[in-house]
């Protein structure tokens, strides 16, 4: 089987991005970098999602002039993952924004961005 | 005389031992009250004269009493060293019914074995009073008769019979165990004859004895009669 086609490449890229994001989250000490890691992670997921719905040699799920409405089912890629990814992106955006707000607040509390400085609660 | 019996006249508080002074305590219910140890802890009854019973019976009983002389193991002076040999094979007082007892409650004879210091007198009186009647006093040596070589001592008594009724004096300084055995035999005779009524005499002339005792014992800090 041919692994060097677009959906494989994109899905592998997506997963690599996820792992990269996780690696950043787990190893970076700076909270902002952690948030960036989270963004990478999220983006990776979005890429994976889009790859899932991809069908080779088909077009976007918009029924304009290029698509025959009657035979749309055989001409377009799956609209559902795209719809889902839209939602997921927005959610990721919301989460990231919120995280950044937290970072701001944390920095204000301790004037520090090192994650290990925020471990007062433990055990 | 009567006021002699009354302890209060005796500036006793100076001599009264700490534990015999009055004290206030708090009960478990929180109420405070006073304790007078001499009254609360000691019986203040005076001794009574106990007359002998029916003559025949009494004669028999007296014989038994004479043959069973239980001696209080209490040595007051140098003469106490003469008592232990009595129990040895050489003298063996046990054959005469003489046995040593450890407690005055069970003894019938107290041996005043020589000089009697005033502070010992107090203990002797207490022990004597704790013996049950009929009880007998055997006095050893000249010190108990007239003070002996301590006749002018500031601290010993001269005549024992001022302080308690003596049944038999054994003379000598000191009398040897043989003399002591003889003294026991004398005592037996007295008992059998019904003349050894020292306990009753003590009860009868209690006030006089007490007066004498209190006269010489300055720090009198015990009840009048030690039951």
């Amino acid at each position: 089987m041919d692994y060097f086609n677009i959906e494989y490449i994109s899905i592998v890229t997506g997963f690599l991005l996820i792992l990269l994001g996780l690696f950043a989250i787990l190893t970076q000490k700076n909270i902002i970098k952690i948030v960036i890691g989270f963004s990478l992670f999220d983006t990776g997921i979005h890429i994976v999602m889009v790859s899932i719905g991809y069908i080779r040699n088909r077009t976007a799920p918009i029924l304009d002039e290029t698509v025959n409405i009657k035979d749309a089912a055989n001409q377009i890629v799956d609209p559902v993952p795209q719809a889902l990814v839209l939602t997921a992106i927005i959610i990721g955006l919301g989460v990231t924004a919120l995280m950044l707000a937290y970072v701001l607040k944390l920095h204000k509390e301790k004037k520090s961005l090192e994650i290990q400085n925020f471990s007062d609660l433990k055990w | 005389m009567s006021d002699i019996n009354n302890n209060t006249n005796n500036k006793e508080d100076k001599f009264l031992a700490e534990e015999n002074k009055k004290r206030t305590v708090i009960g478990p219910d929180g109420i405070e009250f006073e304790i007078d140890p001499l009254k609360d802890y000691f019986c203040d009854q005076k001794p009574e004269v106990r007359d002998p019973k029916n003559k025949v019976v009494e004669k028999f009983i007296n014989w038994a009493r004479a043959e069973s002389l239980w001696v209080l193991g209490f040595g007051t002076g140098c003469g106490s060293i003469e008592i232990p040999p009595l129990l040895t094979p050489r003298f063996d007082a046990a054959r005469f019914g003489v046995q040593m007892r450890a407690t005055p409650r069970q003894s019938s004879v107290i041996i005043i074995s020589g000089y009697l210091a005033v502070k010992t007198l107090k203990r002797v009186i207490r022990s004597y009073e704790q013996m049950q009647s009929p009880k007998y006093v055997l006095a050893l040596g000249s010190c108990t008769i007239n003070g002996g070589m301590y006749y002018d001592s500031y601290n010993t008594i001269n005549r024992l019979d001022y302080y308690m009724p003596v049944d038999v004096y054994v003379a000598g300084c000191m009398p040897r165990p043989e003399a002591l055995l003889a003294g026991f035999n004398k005592l037996k005779e007295r008992i059998k004859a019904g003349r050894a009524e020292g306990a009753n005499e003590y009860a009868e002339k209690f006030d006089w004895y007490k007066a004498n005792q209190k006269k010489i014992i300055k720090d009198w800090n015990m009840p009048d009669y030690n039951w």
Partner: protein, 236 residues
């Protein structure tokens, strides 16, 4: 270093999960049942040319409502979180002597911002026909605002106004949803209006309306977020 190594090992092990997913992934040759249903029926049922829009706004309208709520929440929480005490506000206002931004930026802003806003509006109005939609349009509008902030760091946005727009759009969205129950098949059904001619601007029932509200809402929410973040962090 040791820890990093450990993390690496764990992640490599973790990658095994993904590997097994990839190995079972064979690509697609056909649409899924769901996809082909949408491809076949969406034009007649929803009337939106953009199938993604049809799915997002109508078929999975509740998801969209959830998304909107999430943004709304994010904005509200950031507001809650970064609400400045009075002292801080005063302090911030005293530090306004920041260096002015460059002339180029300011000029470009003046020219570009209206265009950006217009573009945003276009995107969400045409959401049911062309790629794009309320979210995308809202984001474009918000990017215009970011540009404004960059040009003029001391700019204050009118939070009350933004909040009003945000809420009224949200409320309208919900209201349209309820109308769906009353007038059509169910909550968020777009057939409260005529579906119209397929492929025209005024078609697809309530979708354009909804997308307008979503666009407004997203735009205002993102603006609000950016604005709040901007106000809070004033470096000396």
């Amino acid at each position: 270093m040791l820890k990093k190594g450990l993390i690496l090992i764990i992640l490599i092990a973790f990658a095994a999960i993904f590997l097994s997913l990839i190995s079972s992934f064979n690509g697609n040759t056909e649409l899924s049942d769901l996809g082909s249903y949408y491809a076949k029926n969406a034009p007649s049922e929803v009337g939106a040319a953009n199938l993604v829009t049809a799915v997002v706004v109508t078929y999975r309208g509740l998801d969209t409502l959830g998304e909107v709520v999430i943004l709304f929440l994010a904005a509200a929480i950031i507001g809650l979180l970064l609400k400045l005490s009075k002292d801080e506000k005063d302090e911030n206002s005293r530090m306004e002597n920041v260096r002015a931004t460059s002339e180029i930026l300011q000029t470009a802003t003046k020219i570009l911002v209206p265009v950006i806003f217009l573009f945003g509006a276009y995107i969400f109005i045409n959401g049911h026909l062309t790629p794009g939609g309320g979210f995308q349009g809202g984001a474009v509008i918000a990017s215009g605002l970011v540009l404004l902030f960059m040009a003029n760091p001391n700019m204050k946005i009118n939070h009350r106004l933004i909040s009003f727009i945000e809420s009224i759009s949200g409320l309208s969205f919900v209201f349209i949803g309820i109308l769906g129950i009353l007038l059509a098949g169910g909550f968020l059904d777009n057939k409260i209006f005529e579906l119209g001619t397929f492929g025209k601007l005024l078609s697809a029932g309530a979708i354009p309306l909804i997308y307008i509200f979503i666009g407004l809402k997203v735009g205002s929410e993102l603006s609000s977020i950016v604005g709040t973040l901007n106000e809070t962090q004033k470096e000396k």
